[in-house]
């Protein structure tokens, strides 16, 4: 069942136009044909009545002098004069047949009853019956009846129907072509709107208004859409602003809490109390890092994240990051497998450190205790590749791109992993800004996170590319 709403507007418009054309033309042709045929019939009837009139006049004397032969002679003339007349008869004033004529090969005339009832002409499907009184001295002395074969009419009808159908088909084709051209005007604007909407969903750029200056419904729709987009953009901005403010506001009391708890830590000797304080401190640090991540995300979203670019020693940074991460894990072993060189990288040292710390922290978080985390590096002529391998739960293939999205947490609910799910999103942004790449390869037995950083000499070309 085809629903009207499922047909594209383009097709609906075309259908509508074609349908309208066909209906209108059909009606017009119909009317024309009907009036044509009507007037043809009228003219035919009139001319036959005239003929009957003439016959009648010429038969007056035959009737007056009771000479049916002469009347019959007149009727016989019809054979040549009006071959479409198949029967003719002259009756007297009492209705009895005085003279009659039938075209060769046909039975004699039977005057239909309805003719006798004072009608001068009657059309049946194939014949025309005509009756005309014979008047002499203002008195009706008889009647002339004619039966006319309407073959000509049949032919005319067929011809006209054929022409009408041909013209109708022509009209159909033309209206289809015209509709095809015209509909694009409407559907083009609509499709442009749809395309923009799809794009916005993909890129998240809400600020691109659709340009449409029409005052019709599509124009109104476009304006409403643009306004809506503005509102969304505004609310996005407010949200980001809020995140920024919120994280800033959160940091102030955090500062106090952290400071005082650290003091407590220094001052407390009692082992139990020290343990408690230690737990509090650990969580304060977690909290602090979550708040920082939130702020980073807000900056990335609003395009405010800026890098402090400098040259630094990558190998040293890796060692530092490993050392810092090792402190946070009891049982994991973080091992460096490559041969450390002294690779100098141009980038934001603090941010790259952030990436390393994040990846290492993930490796520790998502793999069981006492397992190994392996750090490896490689270098080719274009880039420096860092690899962090763990033996954890791995990342399913369908999630390997999604994990870098905001707020993405693993779908595996059997494990509870803390955090907002922002870390990889921030890492990706940082690495992208360095013109590097970040990705994961994974089986069920563990994951390998890779990221690349361009070597110094390739940077200038990279920058123009992106």
């Amino acid at each position: 069942m085809i629903k009207l709403n499922d047909i594209s507007i383009r097709n609906k418009l075309i259908l509508m136009q074609v349908f309208t054309s066909v209906v209108v033309f059909g009606i017009v042709f119909g009317v024309f044909i009907i009036t044509d045929i009507s007037s043809y019939k009228q003219r035919k009837a009139d001319s036959m009545i005239s003929l009957a009139q003439v016959i009648g006049t010429n038969s007056i004397s035959s009737i007056q002098f009771q000479d049916p032969e002469s009347a019959t002679e007149i009727l016989q003339e019809l054979h040549t004069v009006a071959p479409e007349i198949i029967h003719a008869a002259i009756t007297n004033d009492e209705g009895e047949i005085f003279a009659n004529y039938s075209k060769s090969g046909l039975d004699s005339f039977k005057i239909p009853a309805y003719i006798l009832r004072n009608r001068s002409s009657v059309f049946t499907e194939h014949q025309l019956f005509v009756a005309n009184p014979i008047v002499s001295n203002n008195k009706v002395i008889g009647k002339v009846y004619l039966e006319v074969q309407l073959t000509e009419l049949q032919q005319i009808k067929e011809y006209k129907y054929k022409i009408a159908i041909v013209l109708l088909l022509v009209a159909l084709v033309f209206s289809f072509l015209i509709a095809l051209l015209i509909q694009s005007y409407i559907s083009k604007r609509l499709l442009k709107l749809v395309k923009t909407m799809k794009n916005v969903r993909k890129t998240g750029e809400f600020s691109k208004p659709v340009n449409d200056t029409g005052k019709d419904e599509i124009g109104t729709l476009t304006k409403a859409y643009n306004l809506l987009m503005e509102e969304i953009e505004e609310s996005q901005r407010k949200k980001d602003e809020f995140i920024g403010i919120a994280s800033h506001e959160l940091k102030t009391p955090l500062t106090s809490i952290k400071g005082y708890v650290e003091m407590l830590n220094l001052m407390e000797d009692d082992p139990t109390k020290k343990q408690f304080v230690g737990k509090a401190l650990g969580n304060i640090n977690k909290l602090e890092s979550l708040v920082k991540d939130l702020l980073d995300v807000s900056k990335i979203q609003s395009g405010q994240l800026q890098l402090n670019m400098n040259e630094f020693n990558m190998d040293e940074l890796i060692d530092e990051a490993i050392a810092a991460s090792q402190v946070n894990t009891g049982t994991h072993q973080i091992i460096r497998e490559d041969h450390p060189g002294n690779e100098i990288i141009y980038g934001d040292k603090q941010r790259i450190e952030q990436v390393l710390l994040n990846l290492l922290s993930n490796a520790i978080k998502y793999s069981p205790g006492e397992s190994k985390v392996i750090v490896d590096t490689k270098k080719n002529e274009k880039e420096f590749i860092i690899k962090i391998k763990d033996n954890g739960i791995g990342v399913p293939a369908e999630e390997q791109l999604e994990i870098f999205e905001r707020f993405y947490r693993t779908k595996d609910i059997s494990i509870h992993i803390s955090g907002f799910g922002l870390g990889l999103y921030i890492c990706r942004d940082i690495i992208n800004r360095h013109y590097g790449r970040i990705w994961v390869e994974s089986t069920g037995k563990g994951s390998i996170f890779y990221f690349t950083l361009p070597l110094k000499h390739t940077l200038s070309t990279q920058q123009t590319e992106v």
Binding site: S61, F65, Q66, D67, N92, D93, F98, S136, K139
Partner: protein
């Protein structure tokens, strides 16, 4: 000549064509029919300059039942809006001003005499075989049990009259 037939009422205009004659009834019918014919003749004859007077006079020569039929017609009908007068003519010398001279078969007078007396402007009608050849304009004959009439074109034209084609086409032309 005697065959059965239906009875028709014959007034002026319409007669069915089936007819044959039998005895008294038939005689009456024949008279009526002939009178009707005579009356109808007037519709097709042009008297031209011979039209005169306010009345239309049909002179009937001889004692004939047709006279009565003519008189009946004359009661209700007119010729050219003129009152019809049926005049009995006993002797030829009585024939003077008339439009039609009807010579009945009862008339004993010689035809030539009557014709001479009739003169121009008079339509002569007879009902005796051979009279048309002898000079009457129209002559009734019975053919196949049907009433027909002969027409003598020369007689018509020498009387200075014109006969319409519609009439002549029905007549048996005799010369």
């Amino acid at each position: 000549m005697n065959t059965l037939f239906k009875k028709y009422f014959l007034l002026i205009f319409l007669c069915p064509f089936c007819g044959s004659l039998s005895a008294q009834q038939n005689a009456e019918q024949e008279a009526n029919l002939k009178a009707a014919f005579i009356y109808n003749f007037t519709k097709y004859i042009d008297w031209g300059s011979y039209e005169h007077g306010n009345d239309f006079i049909i002179a009937v020569a001889g004692e004939s039942p047709i006279t009565q039929s003519l008189q009946e017609i004359a009661r209700t009908s007119r010729v050219d809006d003129k009152i019809m007068i049926i005049k009995k003519v006993a002797r030829p010398s009585d024939i003077d001003d008339c439009n039609i001279l009807f010579i009945t078969k009862e008339c004993r007078y010689p035809l030539d005499f009557l014709l001479k007396k009739a003169g121009p402007g008079v339509l002569t009608i007879s009902e005796e075989d051979g009279f048309a050849e002898r000079g009457t304009a129209f002559n009734f004959v019975i053919l196949n049990d049907r009433l027909k009439f002969e027409a003598n074109l020369k007689a018509i034209s020498s009387a200075g009259l014109k006969a319409g084609a519609q009439l002549l086409k029905l007549a048996i032309i005799v010369d």
